[in-house]
Structure formats: C-alpha cells, structure tokens
Amino acid sequence: MHEFLTNFANLESLARIYPLLLQGLQVTVLLSLVTVPLAIALGLVVAILYSFHLRFLNPLLIVYVDVLRSFPVLVGLVLIFYGLPFVGINLAAFPAAVLAIALNNSGYYGEILRAGIETVPRGQREAARSTGLTAWQTAFSVVLPQAVHNVLAPLAGNTLELIKTTSIATAVALPELMRSARVAQESTYNPTPLTAAALIYFVLLWPLTRLVARLERKMVASH
C-alpha cells in the first residue's frame, strides 16, 4: 500500500510538477471556452439552414453532418496540422485544435439542433409567420427556444464530450492538461502526474456529468 501511494500519489512529485499541470489546465479551459461557442454557432447555422427545407440544400447538409460524424476527430486534427502544411497552410497547434474539434462537433451539434427543430410542430412556425415575423425572426424567437428545450440533454452531453475531446490536442504537442501530465510523468519517472490530471478532469467535469445524467433521465421518462 505504501509503495502504491509513493507511486501514484507521490506528494514530492506533485509539489514539483503542479505548476506544469496548472498551465495545462489553463490551456484546456481556454481551448474549451473558444471551441464550444464556435462549434455551437456552426451547428446552429447548419440546423437553421436545414429548417428552411430547401430541396437542393438539405441533402448537402445531411452529407456534411454525416461525413463529420463518421470521421474520428483526431484524424481531422492530424489532417489539419500535418496535412495542410503540404499546401502551404501552417497552423499552430492551438488554432489547429480549435478548427478540428469545432468542425467535428459542428456535425454533432448540427444534427442535435436539427432534430430538435423537427420536434417543434409546424403550426408554431405558421402562427409566428402569420403574425408578421420574418423567417429568421421565427427561427430565433419561436422555433429555436422550443427546439433547444427539447434537446437539452444531448446538447449538454455533447458539450461534455467536446471538453473531454480537447485532450486529443496532446497529439499535436499542444501543452494542455493531458500533455502536461505526460511530460511531467516522463520527467519524474512517476505516474503521480497522470493521477493528478485524471483527478483534475474529474473535479472539473463531474458536475456536468451529473447534470447530463439528470437531463437524460428526464428525457427517457418523458417518452
């Protein structure tokens, strides 16, 4: 037991590497704060365009969403970070990660919001339009609020997944939490940084996990 603790919860090692972990945490939080709104905005554009039911556009939107959803986000990141330089586009690790994760999740958010909009009865839209609201006003003030309410659980769930996904930026050497922990582990020959990073992720995200679980239970119960 003692040996286990000196390995996995070594306070000396922790004292030495915690500044590194805090820096990593900062990058993870920043990456999430930039990417989540961007991905939601992109997904929203897809969903609203879809809701206009333009015959030539909707199949394209479905293809966009499904291609992004069938593509591992890490593959997208590697393509952007290591592939684009071949055509002279060099992105730093941070913007590359933002782009890859936001594009990937725009597919997920787009699909969730699209399905949410479909749950709003047609009459709502017709009633809104007949009071003189424009198509965009109808979308934003009448349809979207109800749509978001109906898909709150998957929206929150996807946001949790997105924040977890930021850990893939470690593959392009962005010093976020996961990467910092790996660097610390290799320099101290001790797994405590990994334990600490896991603990930080858990403390950071556990409230969101609970919230998602509660929303999901409500959704299942209402069916």
């Binding site: 286990f4 390995n7 996995f8 479905i62 499904d66 291609v67 959803r69 069938s70 593509f71 591992p72 986000v73 890490l74 593959v75 590697v78 393509l79 290591y82 592939g83 071949f86 055509v87 969730i112 399905a115 949410g116 749950t119 109906n150 898909v151 998957p154 949790l160 997944e161 977890k164 996904t165 930021t166 850990s167 893939i168 470690t170 593959a171 996961m178 790996r182 582990q185 001790n190 797994p191 990994l194 334990t195 990073a197 896991a198 992720y201 858990f202 995200l205 556990w206 969101l208 996990t209 609970r210 998602v212 679980a213 999901e216 239970r217 299942v220 119960a221 069916h223």
Partner: protein, 223 residues
Amino acid sequence: MRGFSETFFNPGVIARYLPALLSGFRVTLELAAAVVTLGILLGLALAVVRAFRVRVVNWVVVAFVDVFRTLPQLVVMVFAYFGLPYAGITISAFAAATLGLGLVLAAFAEEAFWAAITAIPRGQWEAARSTGLSFPQALGSVVMPQAIRIAIPLLTNRTIAITKGTALASVISVPEILDKAQSAMSLSANASPLVVGAGLYLAIFGPLVAFSRWLERRFGWIT
C-alpha cells in the same frame, strides 16, 4: 493543381503504402470489435446487477459510471498504458486501448440500459411476479428484453462515437489506421497516406452513421 493532386492523391505513394494501411485497417476493426464487446457486455452486466438494488453494490456501479463518463477516453488509455506498469501491471498497447475505450463505453451503456430498465412500467414487474416468476426470471424474461430494445437507439450514436476513438490508440502506438498513415506520411513526405487513411475511416463509420440515422427515424429517438 498538379502539385495538389501529387501531394494528396499520389498513386505511387498510395500503392507503396497501401499494404501497411490495410493492415492498420484490420487492427482498427479488431480494436473496434474488442471495444464494443467489452463495453456493451460490461455495461449490460452492470445494469443488471444494479437492478437487484443492493445499496453497496449500487454505489460501486454509480461510482464506476460517473468516473468513466467523466474522464476523457485518452486519459484512461494513457493511464492504463503508462501508469499501470508502475503498479507492476504491464499490458499491451492494444489491451490498454481496449480497456480505455471499453470502460468508457461500458459506463455509457450502463446508463442507457439502466434508464431503459427504469422506463419499464411497474405493472410489467408486478404482472410478471404475480404469474409466479422469481425476481431474476422477471428481470431476465420480461423486463430486459423490452429494456434492451429501448436502449439500442439510445446507444447507437454513443457506441459509434466511442468506437471512432480507436484512432486515439495511435497516441500509444497501436498500429491501427492513423498510426500507419502517420508513419507512411513522414516516410514519404507526402500527405496521400493520410487521405487514404481518412477514406478507410469513412468506409467503416459512414455506413454506421447512416444506419444510426435510419434507426433514429424508425424509433423516433433523438440521441
């Protein structure tokens, strides 16, 4: 334009590295199969155990689910691969990847199965018990068949999303598609292997995403 196609669709490079990429394709399929098997079966087992409502056991199940829903897959994977050896447990990269993704999928699967079990009306339980079935019989022959049907559409998207995470295994050097594509890319100084790798992922997950869309239409679920 010629430069573009030579960089991203170079026939010579593709021909040279196709065997390596196809071997990666096989490893990806094997890893995906291992992850889905471990994740779904463990999740189902945990939900069944939870249905017996033994308080201490339930705490353990809930703690397991919360931990593995909250931690990023990559963190679990890296911990299994780089952390466990310090405790004297050395596992292969393939096993670490299976464990990392499988445990996370198990947590989601448990939640879905459990939500489905609790969604079965009380009357079903009571009717089953009053015909003389024991509790395990009622659970196994009456409740679970219905619960599994409810859980499938809840689970498909999540299962696909987590299975796509097999690409993460490249971080711990499992020789799957992305790993092979990246080493081929650096050996050939050409992006074509990565494009082919991306195509292979689309070939695996595109049909699965289309299938999940069909399931959703059919069952009317938003997942």
